[in-house]
Subunit: 165 residues, 2 copies
């Protein structure tokens, strides 16, 4: 069994999703949105670090996947997002885990089969692949999507290694 933690960092909302994978199947262990809206900006950044550290300690994932950031033209929001993502990455590295990074297009391609799928299609595939009935908050769905993308890549690499050996 392989346990993957997916993270979708943001300065106000950080999505978290934990999946267990085995024999090409995945099931959802946990998902939630960390909301960091109270306190100063440094306090909010510190809270993302604490929450991700606590999540890594509680669920003890084998792998961690984080979505690569889409850099838009707004340098101010890129800077804020960088802080949030830096906090998440620090928490993972401090937990002794490596960070696998996937571009938004790689996530879409792994889940829907096309790099330019829309958000609703990705969310739909997250629910189908994990057999979830309830509506999932968007940030948590993005976190589960990047975890599923990592499952896809890890299993593909394993199969290729088996064929090569």
């Amino acid at each position: 069994m392989l346990r993957i933690l997916g993270i979708d960092p943001g300065s106000r909302c950080t999505g978290i999703g934990v999946i267990d994978c085995s024999a090409g199947q995945a099931h959802c262990v946990h998902y939630r949105t960390i909301r960091t809206v109270a306190g100063s900006f440094p306090q909010r950044i510190g809270e993302i670090f604490s929450e991700i550290s606590a999540t890594a300690a509680q669920f003890r994932p084998h792998r961690v996947a984080v979505e690569k950031v889409f850099v838009n033209n707004n340098a101010e929001s890129s800077l804020k997002l960088g802080h949030a993502r830096g906090a998440a990455v620090c928490a993972i590295v401090q937990a002794g885990l490596e960070v696998a990074e996937y571009s938004p297009n790689a996530v879409k391609k792994a889940l829907v089969g096309r790099g330019h799928a829309d958000k609703a299609q990705v969310e739909h595939m997250v629910k189908v692949l994990l057999n979830l009935q309830d509506k999932i908050p968007p940030d948590a769905a993005d976190a589960l999507a990047v975890a599923l993308c990592d499952q896809h890549h890890t299993e593909t690499s394993q199969r290729l290694a088996q064929i090569a050996s």
Copy 2:
């Protein structure tokens, strides 16, 4: 005695400076540049966190000051800088300390008296105020400058509070 840690974060070079202040005087306790050039980007971000955590544990500052980032037009470099700054901020918040933030202009104004002083003038004033003879690496000089700016603001606030009471 008031001990202040100043930090100038960057994704490749992070400057650190520690000063002790008493009766309007300051002296330099420590300065150095943390170079994070080896390893993956997440590893480098994790290293900034570890190094700043270790510095806070070793020198036990009363206050921590970080320069506010000048947002340029390059969203990509703003994002990278955000990661580095997020790592530094996390380390400080985790150490139970608050972060005082100063804009580059506030630092220049506190040290040189004008918000648009050039880098050489700021470095010169850092050496004069701390009575340092040697050439200081630019990132470490910037870290000492933001610590001296925090000293200036803290002592001014204390004087104003004394006058008001």
